[in-house]
């Protein structure tokens, strides 16, 4: 069954980080975005709160809104602190460090700040975290277990930048950043107006299978193909050849961070006129993930 999820709203935060200037202060942004006085949280949690809060736009979400938070590496900073305490210093971590090291801590804080009581899931995926989270949410929608969901991805920077660059595997010349991208989703039958629909969430084990699927769908010039960060513009142009589809290089102005799929969706909705966007990502094993966004 093809998924149809209605996107009610998007919200995001992304920022390049310049080591000499330190990490941008987020506490005030958290207050502005969520109206919540949140304390004892890590930078990763703050980013999650800013993005999710902006997505909810200070509107009251139904308490049964579920939270699906995805990330490529999770909260690396708190994990490093925890391991530093336990192994290098041979000390017990502080209670706050321990609590925040639980992967679902960010989901708890998002749910708590926005007054949500439904399920929450933290999903990690090396190559397209947001696509994995959308698929998980879709399964819950399909089973009738979820009616509204906040689905997001978060990537945080940590200092020193030298260590962060090693973790995210980029050179000193690359501008790195951090981001939080969120979608507020509901089922297609929801009468509230949406900005777009997610109409396909597919995974393919080979390029051949992806080509077959594309040829069946018959994409034309009313659509754009947005290459994910592990899928080159060249590959995208090759797939577009003969279809009339344009490639949409939304990544040119973005600093490097792990999950940029949410940025693609938001940029498409804000900057482009086409009816649909096909986001394609790949991994080193030659598998492909596809998200199709169609304007409402």
């Amino acid at each position: 069954m093809a998924p149809t999820l209605k996107i009610l709203a998007t919200g995001s935060y992304s920022q390049a980080v310049i080591e000499e200037q330190g990490l941008p202060e987020l506490k005030e942004l958290v207050k502005e975005s969520t109206s919540a006085n949140v304390r004892r949280v890590t930078r990763f949690v703050q980013l999650a709160l800013v993005g999710a809060g902006r997505c909810s736009r200070n509107r009251s979400l139904p308490a049964n809104t579920a939270v699906y938070l995805s990330s490529c590496r999770g909260d690396a900073e708190v994990t490093a602190t925890l391991l530093d305490d336990l192994i290098r210093r041979r000390e017990l971590p502080s209670p706050v460090t321990f609590v925040n090291s639980v992967s679902n801590a960010a989901c708890f804080h998002v749910a708590s700040a926005l007054g949500l009581h439904e399920r929450s899931n933290f999903i990690t995926n090396r190559f397209d975290p947001l696509a994995a989270a959308l698929k998980t949410a879709w399964i819950d929608f399909q089973c009738g277990e979820v009616e509204t969901a906040l689905v997001g991805s978060v990537d945080a920077c940590s200092l020193p930048m030298r260590d962060h660059r090693v973790r995210v595997e980029v050179t000193e010349q690359t501008t790195v950043g951090e981001a939080s991208h969120w979608l507020l989703l509901t089922g297609a039958a929801d009468p509230r107006p949406g900005v777009a629909h997610v109409t396909a969430l597919e995974n393919f084990a080979s390029l051949e299978r992806l080509r077959e699927w594309l040829s069946e769908r018959n994409f034309r010039k009313d659509s754009v193909l947005a290459p994910g960060q592990h899928f080159t513009v060249c590959d995208a142009e090759e797939l577009c050849a003969g279809t009339g589809m344009q490639t949409f290089d939304y990544r040119a102005s973005l600093p490097h961070y792990d999950s940029q799929t949410g940025a693609a969706i938001e940029a498409f909705l804000e900057e482009r006129e086409e009816r649909a966007m096909l986001h394609i990502n790949s991994d080193p094993a030659g598998r492909y993930s596809v998200i199709l966004i169609e304007r409402s």
Binding site: N37, R39, R40, V41, E91, L92, S94, P95, V96, V99
Partner: protein, 94 residues
């Protein structure tokens, strides 16, 4: 460290460890810590207890002893002073 210095150190620690948006001097010596105006909770209590153990080597036991010690900055300072005095007497019985 004299008594007022110890109290100020504890107030700074509470602001830092519990991530409170306030000046240390805004905390009154006899102000209720847990659940009062400061709105500290059990995680804050654990955080404070661990700090006291780390910096003064004083273990605050669970239960009534912890509730009594963590009632206010005054009570915490009194406990630390008492324990440090006892330790000092043990180390130098003469």
């Amino acid at each position: 460290m004299d008594s007022s210095e110890l109290r100020l150190t504890l107030k700074k620690m509470i602001v830092e460890e519990c991530d409170k948006d306030m000046e240390p001097t805004d905390i009154q010596d006899n102000e209720q810590l847990i659940g009062g105006r400061l709105d500290l909770d059990s995680l804050d209590a654990l955080q404070i207890s661990m700090w006291v153990q780390k910096y003064y080597g004083i273990r605050i036991e669970n239960g009534p002893a912890a509730r009594s010690a963590l009632r206010s900055v005054d009570s915490l300072a009194t406990l630390i002073h008492k324990e440090l005095t006892a330790k000092s007497a043990e180390a130098d019985p003469a």
